[in-house]
């Protein structure tokens, strides 16, 4: 099996110690599971995915984001880490309600700087955000390293949205069941047999709201 490795710190680091890191261990366990031997190939994302597309490589390991343009030629694994860009203030300082007018340090010429310029914050370009005294714009996985606190409203991300959707869906199922029960019991006890077939079909017509048209 040929596998490509992409050097993209901090997701995957290519120094000697980190070659044994978990991501590699994972690839090795996967290879062991299918009784394959790994031959590691290093390269850039472009090189590796181009080789993958023509089946020269079997697997690419690296810090690849879920919006990668390569997703159309390769099957990506489930995301294992979700990050968010946020504005953080140094520990001990009160987080402001709004970043409008706030002086925010950001790594110069980074994607984050461009995003920050679209907000009302006052952008201050810095070389090293860790050395900057005031509020900074960073990715949330860096929070601990910089001793700053998150000012974001959803520190655990959006995973629970699925649970909320599940609650709504099951409530809809339950209410529809009750509605049909009520309707059919009323029909049953009201002896409306003169126009039974068509009259009784009516409530099912409304069930189309629940999903595929029926």
């Amino acid at each position: 099996m040929h596998e490509g490795v992409k050097d993209n710190p901090p997701w995957v680091e290519l120094d000697e110690l980190d070659l044994e890191a978990r991501r590699y261990a994972l690839a090795e366990r996967f290879a062991a599971g299918i009784e394959a031997e790994i031959e590691w190939i290093e390269g850039s994302e472009e090189e590796l995915f181009a080789a993958l597309e023509v089946h020269e490589l079997d697997l690419v390991v690296g810090g690849i984001t879920s919006v990668s343009p390569w997703a159309s030629v390769a099957a990506l694994t489930h995301p294992y880490l979700t990050t968010a860009s946020l504005v953080a203030v140094p520990e001990g300082r009160e987080p402001p309600d709004d970043i409008a007018g706030l002086e925010v340090g950001v790594e110069s010429s980074s994607e984050l700087e461009g995003l920050l310029r679209k907000t009302d914050a006052r952008v201050i370009e810095v070389e090293d955000v860790a050395a900057h005294e005031g509020a900074v714009a960073i990715d949330n996985y860096l929070l601990d390293d910089l001793d700053v606190v998150d000012t974001g409203a959803l520190p655990f991300g959006y995973h629970r949205a699925v649970n909320v959707g599940y609650l709504c869906a099951s409530l809809a199922l339950f209410v529809m069941g009750l509605f049909i029960l009520d309707d059919s019991v009323m029909k049953f006890i009201s002896f409306e047999h003169a126009h039974a077939p068509i009259g009784l079909v009516q409530p099912w017509g409304r069930a189309t709201l629940a999903g595929v048209g029926s």
């Binding site: 978990r22 609650l167 869906a169 069941g177 019991v185 049953f188 039974a196 409530p203 999903g211 029926s214």
Partner: protein, 152 residues
């Protein structure tokens, strides 16, 4: 009337069936509940067919509808219980909520098998497609704790 009802029920049967295995694979309970909604859809179409066939028996349609509505309500209650349970951080269950998920127990035995761990407690909460786990461990010895806990 009957062909129209058959025609309307067919997509619900097919799509509903297709959704269930995908929902299991993705651990997506919303998709699973949606698959059950499709089942409710074609069941009601069946009830309407029974009503049309049994024109002589005026009560047949209503009787079929009562039975089917009880089935749908039961699905609703089961899912509602599971959904509130998920929001209350109850123990993770498999996608159709029929039994507990084996992952927490597997995690516990994996952690317990580590050499430097003498005892551990694991609790896992389900957040949509993903699980979050708290693992607390009692190390077997206090010596060189900082070094040992770094070992995988």
């Amino acid at each position: 009337m009957i062909p129209a009802l058959v025609y309307s029920a067919i997509p619900a049967v097919i799509i509903g069936r297709l959704k269930l295995p995908l929902a299991r694979e993705l651990h997506d309970k919303v998709l699973y509940a949606d698959g059950q909604m499709n089942k409710a859809d074609w069941l009601t179409a069946d009830a309407a067919m029974i009503g049309v066939i049994g024109i002589g028996l005026w009560w047949l349609d209503a009787a079929a509808a009562i039975i089917i509505s009880l089935d749908i309500t039961k699905d609703g209650v089961t899912n509602l219980k599971a959904a509130t349970g998920d929001l209350m951080d109850s123990r993770p269950t498999v996608t159709d909520d029929s039994q507990l998920d084996p992952l927490p127990e597997r995690l516990r035995s994996e952690v317990e098998s580590l050499e430097w761990v003498s005892d551990c407690a694991v609790r896992v909460r389900e957040e949509g497609h993903v699980f979050f786990a708290d693992v607390q461990v009692v190390p077997s010895s206090d010596a060189e704790l900082a070094v040992k806990s770094r070992e995988p």
